[in-house]
Subunit: 374 residues, 2 copies
């Protein structure tokens, strides 16, 4: 019987566990890569939603960050961050909250991709980046679409055109560094071309912002780009491991759970972590290896060969060996603590209101608050 990680027995399961040493390694990796590329890293905090993690990501300074909600912008501004990009297309109704934050000294910048938004934003005097569509993933204008210049003119007339940005969400659908590097070049070429088009029209474009976790790690040359964004890189997850952005051993986030029963005839072990603890995300379902609702580890973190969460109800998880496994089912008595590596850290973390942090120095568990909402 393996000894549980110190302090886990004090937690109510399911609980979200963060391995600070792995997180630190992941943060250092992308920081070093951004430095080599000569761009500013603007971490996206939509996944972490934690003031403590924001500090680690920005090296203790109140440096540039990206957010996905105004609740994040407000919370991180209260924590001292003053340079914030809100990277979801702005709804005009949200502009009063943006203006209120700006009036408090926060340089909050919004994004948009159409003239209706641009008119509202220009009237509100809020700086904006124009979202560029580099890969057909969701929003954005094409870099050669004349609408780009229309939007630029509307913003520039009120002095609020800050630049352009893009996100290659399709990079998640391909595997391997070479494939991700091609999407990184798509992000770079589309935004640099858009910036050139704006400048050729006599408009300013100081900021050229790109990024997604796969492309940020794979980018080889970001000439013309001023800043890089990424969100899940501090934690990583099975989706990122499944496309070779990280190794399983890099995953810093897991769900602690307790064995509550067995169905031996079916080869099932029942645990008290269901989809309420892991989320309903099945992001590995269409990857080369379907990880169910997650890979199962002993409490200290060693992966149990071929054991996955094969099914999940609200507060129940069912563990079983992969269909073709020749591995034995280990003895996991009622009361055994286990850890589940998540498919998608953004979705799993969102199910919890705190991180139980295993410090890098091996000291006592710490609790870091995690917030949600809009």
């Amino acid at each position: 019987m393996l000894r549980p990680q110190n302090g886990f027995e004090t937690l109510t399961t399911p609980a979200l566990v963060l391995d600070a040493a792995k997180m630190e390694r992941n943060i250092n990796r992308l920081n070093a890569h951004a430095t080599n590329l000569g761009v500013t890293l603007r971490p996206h905090l939509k996944t972490a939603k934690s003031v403590e993690i924001a500090k680690q990501l920005t090296g203790g300074i109140n440096g540039p960050i990206t957010v996905s909600t105004l609740a994040e912008a407000e919370t991180f501004h209260r924590a001292g961050h003053t340079d914030i990009l809100y990277a979801v297309g702005i709804a005009p109704q949200k502009l009063p909250r943006v203006q209120a934050l700006r009036a408090q000294g926060c340089d909050l910048v919004v994004i948009l991709d159409n003239t209706a938004q641009a008119t509202a934003v220009a009237d509100a005097g809020v700086p904006a980046l124009i979202e560029i569509d580099c890969d057909g993933h969701r929003g954005g204008v094409l870099c050669d679409d004349p609408t780009l210049i229309d939007i630029g003119n509307i913003l520039a007339a009120k002095g609020v055109l800050r630049g352009v940005m893009t996100h290659a969400g399709e990079s998640y659908t391909v595997r391997g560094n070479d494939a991700h590097a091609k999407f990184a070049e798509l992000e770079r070429s589309a935004t640099v071309r858009a910036a050139e088009n704006l400048r050729a029209a006599g408009l300013p474009c100081p900021v050229v912002s790109v990024g997604s976790t796969p492309t940020a790690h794979a980018a080889q040359d970001l000439t013309g780009v001023t800043e890089l964004r990424a969100g899940v890189y501090m934690f990583f997850d099975l989706v990122m491991a499944g496309i070779d952005v990280c190794q399983i051993d890099d995953i810093a986030l897991s769900v602690l759970t307790t064995v509550i029963g067995h169905q031996p005839a079916k080869g099932w072990v029942m645990v008290d972590a269901g989809w309420m603890a892991t989320s309903r995300d099945r992001g590995t379902a269409h990857q080369d290896v379907d990880q169910g609702y997650g890979i199962v580890c002993y409490a200290q973190g060693q992966v149990i060969p071929d054991l996955i969460v094969s099914s999940a109800n609200q507060e129940h998880g069912i563990l079983s060996l992969r269909p073709q496994s020749d591995k034995p089912m280990p003895d996991l008595p009622v009361g055994t603590l286990l850890r589940i590596l998540p498919n998608h850290a953004c979705a799993t973390a969102a199910q919890h209101d705190r991180y139980s942090v295993v410090p890098a120095d091996g000291g006592a568990l710490q609790t870091w608050h995690r917030f949600g909402g809009w």
Copy 2:
């Protein structure tokens, strides 16, 4: 242009909206059915997680409820509920919290399906129901398994055997009242048989508890059963509508969202509700009609023909017409408020910390707190 529901313009989108009139109708429907069947209804609060909704479900008395977490048990006990079933197999480590609630006067009962749990529960002096497996869905002992009597003996020796319970989770996989009625009879026959086996062994079995939302509505005869449980019936959702437990018009829960852009060449409308607001649940994916991440309605609630949330990122939803639709895409300018009916109310509600309630009398919006955690 349709006038938005009064007060929606004061909400930050995405927001969880609850139609109190529809909820009341849904509650009355199952209350009347339980009365006709001659059983006590013990509502499951795992979906609602709201003190206000608990009051509505129990008719203002502090009547019997079911919960899925000890956080629910503690919160509802503080709100006055004293008869609570915690319907997830007990982890022995959680017994001190159960004992603490019982010491405060809460008749909190746990469930279990193995002798290891039974020994821990008996030693702790905590009353328990034995979980019966009626359909192979997840946990439970078979009604004729000798283990049932072993467990019964362990519990009865300490005077904590309360009875048996089951949940036909497989009833969600079939469609129509007749199919659900067969699962209701499976629940009834398995638990009544288990109760008879316990009694034949000289053991007490006062409680015989069954239920799931589909079987609760379809049950025709519950002879031998003492209580009925159901969880999602106050809200309903597209999964329940897809198996004919309710109509689309009965769904009381929706996500309010704002249009933020368009990709006309693709037939896409972009909104500010992504999976963070709807959850990642794709429960209709394997039903006869795949509803994507939800059906789209105007702000007042009328369904927009064939418009669904076809794709979702963290804070972005993409609306498009169903593939074979011959309906026109309506004009939905930037800033338009819409509502999304969810696949799975349990998962969608869990993404939010409050209900914005449209009162049955049509008065001003109310805010009801919703809690989470374990």
